[in-house]
Symmetry: C2
Subunit: 363 residues, 2 copies
């Protein structure tokens, strides 16, 4: 299942990350973003993404898709079979943008929202024509490298739309995980928010600096979580007695004073100053662009290292990375062949076929 023509609504860090992933997969993208700086910002992200993909594919990248800047949402989505919305996290803005997308997108297109936490049911009420094709497709920064996408359906979303979305995201090298029940912030940001709140307390209370906290993460459980999640890690920690033993041993800790859980720290200028200042101490020796480069190089290296594990089959994100780079390499070698066959293959339009079924079911 492939995308023929994509549209990106919003070109910030996340939107531009989607654009980069799509273009580097050879897919044409029309983007709409009213920011006069959008073109420059997207091309900065593209530069970084291209650089990262060259590390993954020293033998050469696939032919990039074509990027066009649309003047309106209507123009961007009018002939797209996949549309990803990545505008700021304000429900009123989401409503306005999704209503506009809904009005002009082909009936059989799939619409994904990058929201980090707004429920799709709360968003799709603004879509008067085909709300059943909206899913949350929540990615993680940098979108062109990190494979996870959380898929969440709302009350009006058709199950088929979720199936098609899964296949679409998989086709561009991602790992879709469908969330079973619709809640705010889904799963990833629930976990991140819990850790973030606790981290703010630790800094505010002077227990450690942001640099020390970061070191504590990346020299310990961060290394673990790059390859196994917390439940599998704790299963091993239970030793020969396993998960049940681990839970019996650590269950009581939940009642100990081990977290600040009942409060949210007051989010005032003092806290912002403290954290921003410490963050400068930690990182101002690098520009954001340099930090991005370091981060991307590290992520590629980690995924590549994991792709050689598990008797060469790859493990976790490494197994996916192995398949993804293989797929891109095949695409790259295909570009040198006659383009007729590729065009013919695309003409089967599998996304549209399934999506048509969805649209048909509604109307």
């Amino acid at each position: 299942m492939t995308i023929e023509k994509a549209a990106a609504i919003g070109g910030g860090v996340i939107g531009a990350g989607w654009v980069a992933r799509l273009l580097l997969n050879g897919i044409d993208v029309a983007i709409y973003d009213p920011d006069p700086e959008a073109s420059r910002k997207v091309s900065e992200v593209m530069k970084g993404a291209r650089r990262a993909y060259k590390q993954m594919l020293p033998s050469g990248l696939p032919k990039e898709g074509k990027l066009t800047f649309a003047k309106t949402i209507a123009e961007a989505v009018t002939d797209a079979d996949f549309i990803q919305e990545s505008v700021p996290e304000r429900l009123d803005l989401k409503h306005k943008v999704l209503a506009e997308i809904d009005l002009h997108a082909p009936a059989n297109s799939i619409i994904g929202s990058s929201t980090s936490g707004i429920k799709p049911s709360d968003m799709q009420v603004a879509m008067k024509k085909h709300p059943e094709r909206l899913v949350v497709g929540h990615p993680f920064n940098p979108v062109y490298l990190l494979p996870l996408v959380e898929i969440v359906g709302g009350a009006q979303t058709f199950p088929e739309a979720i199936e098609v979305a899964k296949e679409i995201y998989s086709s561009i090298g991602m790992k879709p995980v469908v969330i079973r029940k619709e809640i705010e912030a889904f799963v990833g940001d629930r976990l991140l928010e819990a850790a973030w709140r606790e981290a703010l307390w630790l800094i505010k209370d002077g227990i450690c600096t942001v640099e020390e906290l970061d070191d504590i993460m990346r020299y310990s459980f961060g290394l673990r979580w790059a390859q196994m999640g917390m439940f599998q890690v704790y299963r091993i920690a239970g030793g020969e007695a396993g998960m049940r033993h681990f839970m019996a041993q650590f269950g009581p800790c939940l009642q100990w004073p081990w977290t600040k859980l009942t409060n949210v720290p007051e989010f005032n200028d003092e806290l912002v100053d403290l954290i921003a200042g410490q963050s400068d101490d930690q990182s101002s020796k690098w520009s954001i662009r340099e930090l991005e480069k370091i981060r991307d190089d590290n992520l590629v290296a980690i995924m590549e290292a994991l792709s050689k594990q598990n008797k060469g089959k790859g493990w976790g994100a490494g197994a996916l990375h192995k398949n993804y780079t293989k797929q891109l390499a095949e695409l790259a070698s295909a570009k040198t062949k006659a383009s007729g066959a590729a065009a013919k293959a695309k003409a089967t339009k599998p996304v549209k076929k399934v999506a048509k079924k969805i649209a048909g079911k509604k109307g």
Copy 2:
């Protein structure tokens, strides 16, 4: 600063991990553990650790230290200059064991406790002779591979003891981070506990399974946190506007219903069954030993990959890993030379020299 003779009190998953790290650094260890199975369990961990270190050092390991099983705490600690306590997390037991260690250990030794969360001030009250030499040295499983150790001093701990502990842990390839204020659970377990509590809610409420939650972690922010902690990651996410912009953008989320923060889920049989059952679905195809092997191979591969980043200087845990493997390789090549020089070098006893200063200050 090197350790001449170490003692390990407690040989569970953590205690045995310390033993493995010490032995593989060529340091003699006396261990005390009343469990009749202790010897078998420690040798299982040693087997895994030896295997992991062989991946790190294909050219050969240093000569291993000698392991002796002591019949009493007194026998284990009597001539040790570094003692690591890793008994279960019960304050009464910690008191009993630390009092016994204190009674028999040389006055100028350093005593580290592996506790995940008990305050050192609450433990050292049981030490009648030299409480000033107790520090928390909280490691992360697997201790022989993960470099982080949180160092925490109590009300009676001398600053010099913290300095010596830092040097001791560094000498065996670890990354010590000194926690600035004494709190329960320190920094690492505060963050872990916050994420764990949230995870329990997500499973209990049927939002996802343990396997899905693990995938959500290891295909997204887990990869990020293996190389940068959350503050540096968010600084980048702020884009060109940086940390202040990020905080302004995401500050309000703290007030949204993005976490279950105010409650602890009831920890009953139903929840344990649910999680243990889902954990079996996820992982029962591997034995714990197989999972340990996979985990260790992955960790070594990730640290090795990071050791080649940052223009070859290594990044984060990778930079440390680079130095550590170099140090071990030098130690390995030294074992083939005349042992006289090594013995002479050891005779300077730098740990004891500084530690003597501490003991002197007290008495």
